[in-house]
């Protein structure tokens, strides 16, 4: 049991911090521009694919640096020539635009890279077990993921609380209408924030690609979850997004690890049900099976009972 707990916690942390790399960008973009960017996870996917292609020629480490930069530039271009244009037609148009963009990026990825799963590998340098606990190995690459995500988290925190740009962004998050009155070049800041946000998503893709497999559906798999995190944490709250990222990461990790099912519950209660009903799958459910549903269940519950999210102040 303890080994399951330790590994589930470690894996949950890795997932959670990875999710936060996406959620942080999404949150800042939402707070400043009021856009919930549906295509955010698509930039994560682009990060993985660019890094894969680069790694074929120049190795993993070049990809780690260059791919996020390319993604960031792409993101900035999308903001400058797409979002800004749609902005005048209102929020629905913006949401629909990013929705369409996510769709297009998925198709474009299939066009350029094909529909198959890419053999994007962890670098040889990190291809060893970091430590062995209770006979189970924890790979060095996962440790590396943890380190990168933690580094990004700390860096982001420093930038936001210490630097001038960070302060402007913070002001923009809490008082979106005020900042334009401060005389800062708001459109430029928007483009930059969008670029950095998508670059972070790209970086998450680069480091997650080898572990979570690089395939055209990877944006869809993670996209909705990241949305869930941002909403559960409270729209526009970075600490909330952090909390929710860890929560979802750990929740899923524990749910998969815990081999508990309805059958155990029924046995515990000493109940027996006849198995002839169309819904009798209900009685054979186990936690691992419903793990993918949990975030969405949580999302709906949070929205019903606390629409501001865990730590949000603004109700949208």
């Amino acid at each position: 049991m303890p080994e399951i707990l330790v590994f589930a916690t470690l894996n949950g942390l890795v997932t959670g911090l990875l999710l936060f790399m996406l959620a942080s960008g999404l949150t800042v973009i939402f707070s400043m521009m009021g856009v919930l960017n549906f295509a955010h996870a698509s930039f994560y996917m682009l990060g993985a694919y660019f890094a894969y292609s680069i790694s074929l020629y120049f190795g993993y480490w070049t990809g780690l640096i260059v791919a996020p930069l390319i993604v960031g530039v792409l993101g900035a271009l999308v903001e400058r020539y797409g979002l800004r244009r749609v902005h005048q037609h209102g929020h629905v148009a913006e949401l629909v635009f990013t929705f369409g963009l996510a769709f297009l990026i998925e198709e474009a990825v299939q066009f350029f890279w094909g529909a198959d799963t890419k053999n994007y590998q962890t670098p040889d340098l990190l291809d060893f077990p970091l430590f062995t606990l209770f006979g189970q190995e924890f790979s060095a690459y996962r440790g590396f993921m943890l380190a990168i995500s933690l580094g990004i988290f700390i860096g982001l925190y420093q930038v936001l609380t210490r630097s001038r740009v960070g302060l402007i962004i913070q002001a923009a998050i809490t008082h979106p209408h005020m900042v334009s009155n401060l005389g800062h070049n708001v459109p430029l800041i928007f483009t930059a924030v969008f670029g950095v946000g998508t670059a972070l998503a790209g970086l998450a893709g680069v480091i997650a690609g080898p572990v979570l497999t690089t395939f055209p559906g990877m944006a869809l798999v993670l996209g909705s979850i990241v949305f869930v995190i941002v909403v559960i944490g409270g729209l526009g709250s970075l600490p909330g997004a952090f909390l929710a990222s860890l929560l979802i990461g750990l929740l899923q990790s524990y749910a998969i690890a815990a081999n508990v099912g309805m059958q155990d519950l029924l046995d515990l209660l000493g109940l027996e049900f006849p198995r002839s009903h169309p819904l009798d799958d209900l009685w054979t459910l186990n936690l691992a099976q419903i793990a993918p549903i949990l975030p969405f269940l949580l999302l709906v519950l949070v929205l019903i009972f606390r629409p501001t999210g865990l730590m949000g102040k603004r109700e949208q």
């Binding site: 919930l36 797409g82 244009r85 749609v86 037609h89 929020h91 629905v92 148009a93 949401l95 629909v96 635009f97 929705f99 369409g100 963009l101 769709f103 297009l104 998925e106 198709e107 474009a108 299939q110 066009f111 869809l220 909705s224 949305f227 869930v228 909403v231 729209l235 009903h277 169309p278 819904l279 009798d280 799958d281 209900l282 459910l285 099976q289 419903i290 993918p292 549903i293 969405f296 269940l297 999302l299 709906v300 929205l303 019903i304 629409p307 109700e315 949208q316």
Partner: protein, 421 residues
């Protein structure tokens, strides 16, 4: 005077409906191939589904990312009804199958709407997404009802024949679908003309104000939401009849996204918009998917271009010309449109050729009677050259089109000049 105009308006309106009905009934006479009938059936389903979505987003201002839930649940219940008929548990005409779908959609709408319509905007959109993902994921878990990845299939031919139709062929299904499409379209249109429908527009525009003229914004939204769920369910029932087969894809984000696409491309602000969208996208789906593997890519590009440049969709684009037409100046736009449109077409065709050439596994590409060799440098440079030329000419002629457009829509100045001359 008022009476006369009212009667005239009524006659014009019922004329439109008579034409609609006639078109629905005559289509299978004009195009009677199996393929055409199958496309018409797809269109029928898409029209009802897209109209039901527009009820939500276009009329009621609720952006949903989970509308497939009501479509899919309606469809699944309908297939189960077919299965029950096959097992001789029940016996009724399958003409009522869409009704079962509709009732399912309505019930699901009542349940979800009871908590999701409190707010519009982002909260509503997110709840709809959550519910959508929840139901889609559950459908893979509860395999007894949803059939898991394989789905559930039924057989529509076990019911009693209706007017001599035994529903073995798709044509029979078409006439049944046409009946339901006409009925659904009529009811959805009439709904927009009722107090509940008009207040849905009002709440979309300004929920706060609606509360101060005596209406609960939440209750107004709830009514639209339920009605929309019901018609989505009818569409799902039609789907079940046509394909006799449903899978988890019918209630997941892909289907929800597709209906958003249809309604948006067609034009949200107009009742006819989603109908146009449904027809165009079904046709494109069929035409393109037969000729190219890249059709989803083209669809995505077209969608983004529509959002960027035609925010009110195809219907909005057509309606944009109403003023020029009323002022009798529509013809002045023809030449400028040609001058910009032809180079733009050249550009688009060249880009398509380039995309296809770089994607195809064949050594040659046959396109518009041309044979393009994939390994010919000449072909590639030629295409690039023509694409650039098309782009340049489009850019260059665009200001002219804009000027012509403004001139065609300008009201007073011309009228005043005419008076003086």
């Amino acid at each position: 005077m008022n009476g006369v105009t009212a009667i005239r308006a009524l006659a014009a309106k019922s004329g439109v409906w008579a034409v609609y009905l006639a078109v629905l009934l005559l289509l299978p006479q004009l195009f009677d191939s199996i393929l055409a009938i199958s496309i018409f059936n797809q269109m029928a389903i898409a029209i009802v589904f897209a109209l039901s979505y527009n009820m939500l987003l276009g009329q009621g201002g609720m952006l949903s990312f989970g509308h497939a839930v009501y479509f899919g649940l309606g469809g699944f219940l309908a297939v189960h009804a077919l299965l029950m008929m096959e097992n001789e548990a029940v016996y009724f005409s399958i003409a009522f199958i869409p009704l079962i779908g509709g009732l399912t959609g309505l019930l699901a709408g009542v349940f979800v709407g009871s908590f999701s319509t409190r707010k519009a905007g982002t909260v509503f959109a997110m709840i709809s997404l959550g519910i959508g993902e929840l139901v889609a994921a559950s459908s893979l878990i509860f395999t007894g009802f949803f059939g898991g990845e394989a789905g559930v299939s039924g057989d529509r031919t076990f019911g009693p024949p209706l007017f001599g139709m035994d529903f073995f062929s798709d044509v029979d299904v078409y006439y049944l679908a046409a009946f339901w499409v006409f009925l659904s379209t009529l009811f959805m249109y009439l709904f927009t003309q009722t107090p509940a429908g008009r207040m849905a527009n009002a709440v979309r525009d300004n929920p706060e104000r609606a509360e101060f003229i005596g209406y609960s914004a939440r209750w107004v939204r709830f009514i639209s939401f339920c009605a929309s769920g019901m018609f989505a369910g009818v569409a799902g029932g039609l789907f079940a009849l046509n394909y006799e087969f449903l899978t988890d894809e019918n209630l997941n984000l892909v289907t929800s996204g597709r209906v958003l696409l249809m309604a948006y491309i067609g034009g949200l602000g107009f009742f006819i918009g989603p109908i146009i969208g449904a027809i165009v996208l079904t046709l494109m789906n069929f035409l393109l998917s037969n000729y190219t593997e890249l059709w989803l890519l083209y669809l995505g590009i077209m969608f983004l271009l529509t959002v960027l440049f035609l925010p009110r969709g195809f219907a909005g684009f057509i309606m944009m010309h109403r003023l020029a037409w009323l002022r009798g100046r529509l013809h002045t736009l023809a030449l400028p449109y040609l001058l910009t449109g032809l180079p733009a077409l050249l550009f688009i065709l060249c880009v398509i050729c380039l995309l296809e050439l770089s994607h195809t596994a064949e050594p040659e590409l046959h396109f518009l009677g041309l044979t393009l060799a994939q390994d010919s440098v000449l072909v590639w440079t030629g295409l690039l050259l023509f694409a650039t030329l098309g782009w340049y000419l489009t850019k260059k002629s665009a200001p002219g089109l804009r000027r012509a457009w403004e001139a065609a829509n300008e009201p007073e100045a011309d009228a005043a000049q005419e008076q003086f001359s």
